[in-house]
Symmetry: C2
Subunit: 194 residues, 2 copies
DNA sequence: AATAAATGTTAATCTAGATTAACATGATTT
DNA sequence: AAATCATGTTAATCTAGATTAACATTTATT
């Protein structure tokens, strides 16, 4: 198991002793998913939090009409889970599905409790992780208010150029809350402008 | 300063020793705002987190066209701040304004750091607070996907009956992301159905 | 290489909700 | 009790973006 990316990530927030690091690693599991596989399915209880090592995933909600709404793409160094479901151990609202073959390092809900018990300074790490998630959610809400579809697409393209390349266009449309047809229109418009 | 509501709130998540409690209280300040006053203004740096003791506030974003978008009403026992601005000490995206005379207990960014230093178990409290905020944000996003305007209004009315009574209708419309005219239409429709 | 499946494009049409404007009511202020 | 201000209502019109459908292209499978 290649724990380096995760340990590097963690070291930005807290410093573990050797002993703590060993215990921490002992609670981690490595898992490889194939393209199309689900890490979380809406309705299930999300029993693990996953740190993405390689690949790409999408987090999305399917409404009554079967419409998919993507809320997040994750790539290297991102955490994924349905946080609401994980925290309260109730059914998940969201799905997380791999859109490439994807590797994760994961820990279970129970092991998170053990980890927090044994290494209280992880509280700080988890706080920081959740803060980051909350901030990016709130920033995205603000973009939804202040930018039109085209501006949101340009923002996405500029800030996540890798994702824009890796992910099919209809998924980007779903992420932006527009149809693929409309995104297509936007893209041709942008081309004309240049 | 009436710290009881806050201490009661905290005791749901952690237990402070007497000494810790004294130190904690020493870093709190009490402040009364008049109706219309701002706790946070977008563009300012949000330097404090506020726990609402009595009254009511709205958190909202004003777009380029001057349009107000309410994202949260807060009443007794809720925390308010622009979390992104508070954490990163960068300009706030949101405004928080009192819609009644309102009392808060507050602590500053600097004192939060002091508090976390002296009482590490507060990490857990703050983690839990932010988890709650993130979960309710994500739940609200799901409602946005799965419910139409009328269903969202009914959800709001059912879950926050107090707020529905206290707050002018045009603010509820803004919270629901619709015009007051349309909310009015919805309400008359609901009346007809009964 | 041929076929099938997935994804993208174009263009016509549709619709939920927004906008506008004129009037109504209820609450404050003088 | 007028006058003013805040909020609500009704109804006509407008529009951003959605939907549909037919076709095009790219990618995966045989």
């Amino acid at each position: 198991m290649n724990t380096k990316p995760l340990l590097d990530y963690i070291s930005k927030y807290i410093t573990l002793t050797d002993e703590e690091e060993v215990f921490f690693i002992s609670k981690l599991t490595y898992r490889k998913y194939l393209k199309g596989q689900y890490i979380v399915q809406q309705g299930d209880i999300c029993d693990k939090t996953s740190f993405l090592i390689s690949g790409c995933s999408k987090t999305f909600y399917v409404d009554d009409k079967g419409q998919e709404h993507i809320v997040l793409f994750a790539i290297e160094d991102w955490w994924v889970s349905d946080i609401g479901s994980f925290i309260t151990q109730t059914p998940a609202d969201y799905n997380v599905q791999c859109i490439e073959n994807t590797e994760f390092i994961q820990f279970s809900y129970q092991d998170q409790e053990l980890l927090l018990d044994k290494i209280p300074k992880l509280e700080r790490l988890f706080r920081k992780m959740i803060e980051k998630a909350l901030v990016s959610t709130q920033k995205r809400i603000v973009r939804g208010f202040s930018l039109n579809a085209k501006e949101q697409y340009l923002y996405f393209k500029q800030h996540y150029p890798t994702i824009e390349q890796r992910v099919p266009q209809y998924m980007i449309a779903s992420y932006l809350g527009i149809t693929k047809e409309f995104l297509s229109k936007i893209k041709s418009q942008i081309l004309l402008e240049q």
